[in-house]
């Protein structure tokens, strides 16, 4: 008889599991229910715990890290309020399919349901915003549950997984064994596309006169950018990207039409509605992309490649679905192409649309324009930065004007549209990416939603460039108020409410700059980007009532774009 294995505590098992999952960072915040884990953490040296200032910050950090690397982001929060504070971050990761494992403390199992101190039913709360979640009642189930959580988070269509850990379970003991294999009979994601479907798709693309690739976040998260670039350039195919797809190919590259959709390029939207074959690759026909559904690419034969079968035929009924990993399928498609399609005439038509309505943010006007600032940052970094927008007008200007060159380098809150995402997400990315600049760009509204995390960047000397595009308005809401809500600027003017951002950033310990003239932009950017041993802060005071154009009004056809302000008197 072999000697009995040594028993380990739940906390020991927890770290043994993280070690086997090669976790480098945990983003967390301690509390009563997780004390035992933090006690153990004190002795752990194979991973680094990053103390956030708020659990929402920790969760966005984990997502920034996950999206910059493709690895699983790990969060550790306590029970009750600690757990509920992660909810926005979890929902954000769910909407953008980012792999997270969020560990939450829980009150002792015998008190669950008792309205105990700092109790919240986080498994119930997060059910609709997680890929899956677990409450670990017995310590013997801990290892297998953590194994499953990491497996679920990063396979198939990635997503957040919550693991709820009752305090008494963490303190009790059992033998430790880490399962080598995971077998979940209800979960077997399809990876390889059906060969006949791929052959058929290749055939149809070969014969297309006006083909268009419409690529989304699936290309980024399955690391398919290389395959996509090869496929598109070999067959001279135009590519338009969703917000999450930016980086799949360089925005200013030869094959690129830039972003499509509500604030997409005029020519990209025209191409969508006039193409004869539309190939959706890892994109989900989101309403911000399609506009009015019954006018969306009506004449096109639609091919949809996605790893999640439920994405197919959800919003738009397609002619040829292929379920599987976008990476494998693009490679197979490329191999299956017998002839290149003849796209010369099609490209000429696209050039006509480009000339018809180029991007124009009225450069050279007296006030500093946000678009100009974004363009200068793009230029200064050669598009090589990891750019982390917040949510709002500046986010759309970045999508339009920043030349994203590499995949996993444009980390934006797309599906949920979470203000306050940028600051912590950029910090998370900065732990992973050391050889390229990390640029966080927020509006003055969103910047204040997770401003507390600046101290996390300072503490770890992360050379993040924190930039605020300050128009002293909730600009995107203001834009809608002007266009669609009778110019009732209800609660969007922040001019009397905003703090002195430079002083705030200085108080956190960041070298800080403020710019309000176009001629100073380059000088300050040079100065700030030269600082690489700590974070810096730059505020750009920009034209207050600028608007993002072109724009598809909600519910309109995407080829029916507003190109500029209707009322020229209001031009800034």
């Amino acid at each position: 008889m072999s000697p009995a294995k040594k028993k380990l505590s739940g906390a020991d098992i927890f770290f043994e599991c993280l070690k086997r999952e090669n976790v480098e960072y945990i983003f967390g915040y301690p509390g009563g229910a997780t004390l035992k884990i933090y006690e153990k953490l004190f002795e752990i040296d194979f991973l680094t715990h990053i103390l956030a200032k708020h659990e929402q910050g920790a969760t966005h950090m984990a997502e920034g890290y996950a999206r910059a690397t493709g690895k699983v982001g790990v969060v550790l929060a306590t029970s009750g309020p600690g757990a509920t504070n992660t909810v926005t971050g979890i929902a954000n990761a769910y909407m953008d399919s980012s792999p997270l494992v969020v560990f939450t403390g829980q009150v002792p199992a015998n008190l669950i349901g008792n309205d105990a101190f700092q109790e919240a039913d986080i498994v119930g709360i997060t059910r609709p915003i997680t890929k899956h979640n677990f409450l670990v009642r017995e310590v013997c189930e801990l290892a297998v549950t953590i194994r499953k959580a990491f497996y679920l988070a990063q396979t198939g269509r990635p997503g957040p997984v919550v693991v709820d850990l009752p305090k008494n379970m963490i303190a009790s003991e059992c033998e430790f064994e880490y399962p080598e294999k995971v077998d979940i009979r209800g979960y077997k994601p399809t990876v390889d596309g059906h060969p006949n479907q791929i052959k058929k798709a290749a055939d149809i693309i070969s014969k297309a006169k006006r083909p268009l690739l419409y690529v989304g976040g699936g290309v980024i998260m399955s690391n398919a950018a290389e395959e996509l670039r090869a496929f598109a350039s070999r067959n001279n195919l135009p590519v338009t990207m969703t917000l999450q797809g930016l980086g799949s190919i360089p925005t200013n590259g030869k094959q690129s039409l830039g972003m499509l959709g509500m604030h997409g390029m005029y020519w990209a939207n025209q191409a969508v509605n006039n193409c004869d074959v539309l190939v959706a690759l890892g994109a989900r026909f989101d309403d911000r992309v399609t506009g009015k559904l019954d006018t969306f690419a009506t004449n096109a034969y639609k091919i949809h490649v996605d790893i999640d079968p439920s994405s197919i035929d959800k919003n738009v009924v397609v002619d040829l679905p292929i379920v599987g990993s976008v990476k494998n399928i693009i490679a197979d498609l490329d191999k299956a192409m017998k002839d290149k399609p003849d796209t010369d005439a099609w490209w000429k038509q696209i050039e006509v649309w480009k000339a018809e309505c180029p991007l124009n943010y009225a450069n050279g006007s007296e006030t500093l324009r946000a678009g100009y600032v974004i363009e200068r940052i793009s230029e200064k970094t050669n598009g090589h930065a990891v750019i982390v927008p917040d949510v709002g007008q500046h986010q759309m200007w970045i999508a339009q004007l920043y030349n994203v060159v590499h995949p996993r380098s444009h980390i934006s809150s797309g599906g949920l549209g979470t203000m306050g995402f940028s600051v912590p997400a950029a910090i998370g990315a900065a732990f992973a990416i050391k050889d390229r600049p990390i640029v966080s760009i927020s509006g003055d509204g969103g910047f204040q939603m997770n401003i507390q995390e600046l101290s996390t960047a300072v503490a770890h000397k992360l050379p993040v460039k924190f930039i605020v595009i300050n128009n002293a308005f909730l600009g995107m809401v203001r834009q809608w108020q002007e266009l669609f809500h009778a110019e009732k600027y209800s609660f969007t003017d922040l001019s009397a409410l905003n703090p002195n951002f430079v002083k705030v950033a200085e108080a956190f310990g960041l070298p800080s700059f403020s710019v309000d003239k176009a001629e100073n932009v380059d000088k300050v950017l040079d100065e700030a980007f030269a600082i690489n041993d700590k974070p810096v802060f730059i505020e750009f005071k920009v034209s207050r009532e600028d608007m993002v154009f072109p724009m598809v009004p909600a519910g309109a056809s995407i080829s029916d774009m507003m190109i500029e302000r209707l009322n020229p008197k209001r031009m800034v």
């Binding site: 059910r127 899956h132 009979r185 209800g186 439920s310 035929d313 959800k314 009924v317």
Partner: protein, 169 residues
């Protein structure tokens, strides 16, 4: 059109809640749902009756499949099946109507399971349409209370063996 979906799920804490949350979160309407054990200990069967157009039904099946605890989803409407529902109906009677109510119960092959001074409770089983029919007939007598189990359904014949192979290792 009404569809009867048979769903095999891991018999685990919260499995029902995941299904219910999916339906409410996606805005699909459930007409009835019933849950019970199966011949395999750790697997439960849910029978869900929903109505929707084809595209909605396709989404419902896909979304159910997407749940990690889901082992198998079958739209039984597409196959040969047996569908049954059980109802317990407490109906009023008067001295003059007792025989009539008993007759109705017999015609529908129900059983009287309880009786007191002014009302009796009968148990009726059958396809949901049969339950609707008896409810209509009993309505004039005054139904005091009613409990319906919701539909349970199962495939007929040879299909069963084949289907089972797919999830029992």
């Amino acid at each position: 059109m009404k569809h009867t979906i048979s769903l095999l799920v891991e018999n685990r804490f919260g499995a029902f809640d995941r299904v219910a949350t999916m339906f409410s979160g996606k805005g699909f309407n459930i007409s009835s749902i019933s849950i019970g054990e199966t011949e395999i200990n750790e697997i439960s069967r849910m029978t869900i009756v929903v109505s929707g157009e084809d595209q909605v039904m396709e989404q419902i099946e896909k979304q159910l499949n997407r749940l990690i605890d889901t082992i198998k989803v079958v739209d039984l409407t597409k196959t040969e099946r047996c569908e049954r529902e059980l109802a317990l109906i407490t109906v009023n009677y008067k001295p003059g109507t007792l025989e009539e109510v008993k007759n109705v119960c017999d015609i529908f092959r129900g059983t009287i399971v309880d009786i007191c001074n002014k009302s009796l409770t009968m148990e009726v089983t059958g396809p949901p349409a049969k339950i609707d029919a008896i409810v209509n007939v009993l309505m004039p007598y005054g139904i005091k209370e009613m409990a319906r189990s919701g539909t349970v359904a199962i495939r007929r014949g040879e299909q069963v063996k084949q289907a089972k192979k797919e999830y029992v290792q």
